[in-house]
Amino acid sequence: MEPISFLNIPTSPSIDKVGVEERVARFQTRSIKNESKRQGLKMVLSMIDLTTLEGKDTPGKVKQMCYKAQHLHDLHPGLPTVAAVCVYPSMVAVARKELKNASVKIASVSTVFPAGQAPLEVKITDTKFAVDAGADEIDMVISRGKFLSGEYNFVFDEIAAIKEACGKARLKVILETGELATLDNVRKASDIAIYAGADFIKTSTGKIQPAATMQVTYTMLMAIRDYFDETGIMIGMKPAGGISTSKLALHNLVMVKEILGDAWLNNHWFRFGASSLANDVLMQIMKTETGVYQSSDYFTID
């Protein structure tokens, strides 16, 4: 078998933007009945990567978030925990100490997140540092400058190198679709990431707008489906940034189910990268339980 390189992956199909918009609009008109909504909301909670990626992050903030990850709203028993916490490499050790052997995973951004403007050695060191500190998952960024200059080989090889540095940790590849400009580029970047060894593809860093629009997520889901049809290998998906309401999260679930099917409807294959989504979902769940509209005053901030 010849070694995998950018040269022998299939050509990406071009994307019909108008068609994508129409398809996506249809996902948003599905009527979701109460009981399904309740189950859907709990599923959303279990798929969240609770995230803090700020320059002002402190060990205290991370500790608090790790607590929240396991105790979303203790007033209401029976809620799941979130899937993972997502932090900077320097905070991984803090999170590991807090979470110990809890089922909540630790994801760390790496490769000089969010810009990714550094030499490969630095990115590999960054990644290894996070893995050694206890990260279960690595969220890397691609070199968008190189991608937009047409140096697809470079992007491909870089992802493959980081995948190797990850060891046992699962690799999520952030395309930063807000900087890729077109859906054709999103599809091409998705294909490069998948063939280069990504376990997950992820839309955005959350630092650039627009982030995880449904059109972008749809395009990436189609890339995952085509790869599955071709090889039988499943790839995970993580929309991140801009999904702050339960409604939008449920629309995303509808889309995943219809494009990829039930196999992807769990937190091993699908995640939401979000910081404020969890509280909105909690408020919706309490609304369905009590019949009364809720206030953020009664839910913990972090």
């Binding site: 019949g291 009364v292 509209y293 809720q294 206030s295 953020s296 005053d297 009664y298």
Partner: protein
């Protein structure tokens, strides 16, 4: 061939926009002769929810504006209402008032807005205090707005009840979700157009039309509404609302004033929607002969 009259469809007012109700429903109130007045949105609980979200979002910046600036904006509302007197008088006559009474109601409404505009940068001085305490503290109490106020307009007037209940709320830095009079809703929506063209930021006032008994319980039980004010509500609904308001310990007031009287205004309507915050500030001494303050 006679011309077919076009009934205006009155829309609701949420977050500075004029959407139709998300439910797509409407109703048609009639005048005394049985002639339809207009098509009015029959808002649903989801509209109430959206309005509360808009009011909450607007609360931060509205309450942090300088009191003087809030006064300017309230005064601007009065100016814009003055400019559209004729339309309001027409609508009041349509809804059954005599011309003289309609003019009187509009005039009083304008005067009342000016009255509360004046209070904006004055009530805090009057209601606040420096308190004597027997310890080394500078102890003072000041007003803070409660937050989002739910207002169930008085049902027997179209304009003056709404103005009289709304103005003291926003004067004090609160934001509001108003349910208009069910049978006399015309002026409420036109008043929203006045608000929209008078520098009042979107979301500070949100006005919904529809069935009071349908919407009011949602507003009363909403955890993100901090106070509920009503006026001359029937007893059974009043009781239901009081029970629903208990969950988050909303302030709940029922006003019995006759709003059409010039004296039915005052500082108490502002202070009812303020919380008092008292601060204990460590200090050597204050007010004595050796005080340096």
């Amino acid at each position: 061939m006679s011309r077919l009259e076009i009934l205006k469809t009155y829309k609701i007012y949420i977050g500075g926009q004029f959407p139709r109700t998300e439910s797509g429903r409407y109703y048609t109130p009639f005048d005394k002769k049985g002639k339809p007045l207009a098509n009015i949105c029959l808002s649903s609980r989801k509209d109430v929810r959206n309005a509360v979200v808009a009011a909450r979002k607007a609360f931060g910046s509205w309450s942090e504006r300088s009191a003087f600036n809030r006064g300017q904006i309230l005064y601007r509302i009065a100016e814009m209402l003055e400019g559209r007197r004729a339309q309001f008088i027409d609508e009041l006559i349509q809804q059954g008032l005599t011309k003289a009474n309609a003019e009187k109601e509009v005039n009083l409404s304008i005067d009342r807005i000016v009255y509360y505009a004046g209070w904006c940068d004055k009530f805090n001085q009057v209601l606040s205090s420096v308190n004597p305490v027997s310890s080394a503290h500078f102890n003072f109490s000041t007003c803070e707005p409660m937050g989002v106020v739910g207002i169930i307009s008085e049902q027997t007037s179209s304009l003056i009840g709404l103005v009289s209940m709304l103005m003291p709320a926003i004067c004090g830095g609160n934001t509001a979700v108003v349910l208009a009079s069910e049978k006399l809703p015309l002026c409420a929506v036109t008043f929203a157009e006045v608000l929209n063209s008078s520098d009042v930021p979107g979301g500070v006032v949100n006005i919904l039309t529809g069935s009071t008994s349908e919407m009011a319980p949602t507003l009363a039980s909403h955890m993100d509404v901090n106070a509920l004010i009503t006026s001359q509500l029937d007893d059974s609904l009043k009781k239901n609302l009081s029970v629903a308001a208990v969950d988050n310990l909303k302030r709940n007031y029922e006003f019995t004033a006759d709003w059409s009287k010039p004296e039915s205004q005052g500082l108490n309507y502002i202070s009812d929607l303020q919380e008092i915050k008292t601060t204990w500030h460590p200090i050597e001494n204050i007010g004595g002969a050796t005080s340096s303050y």
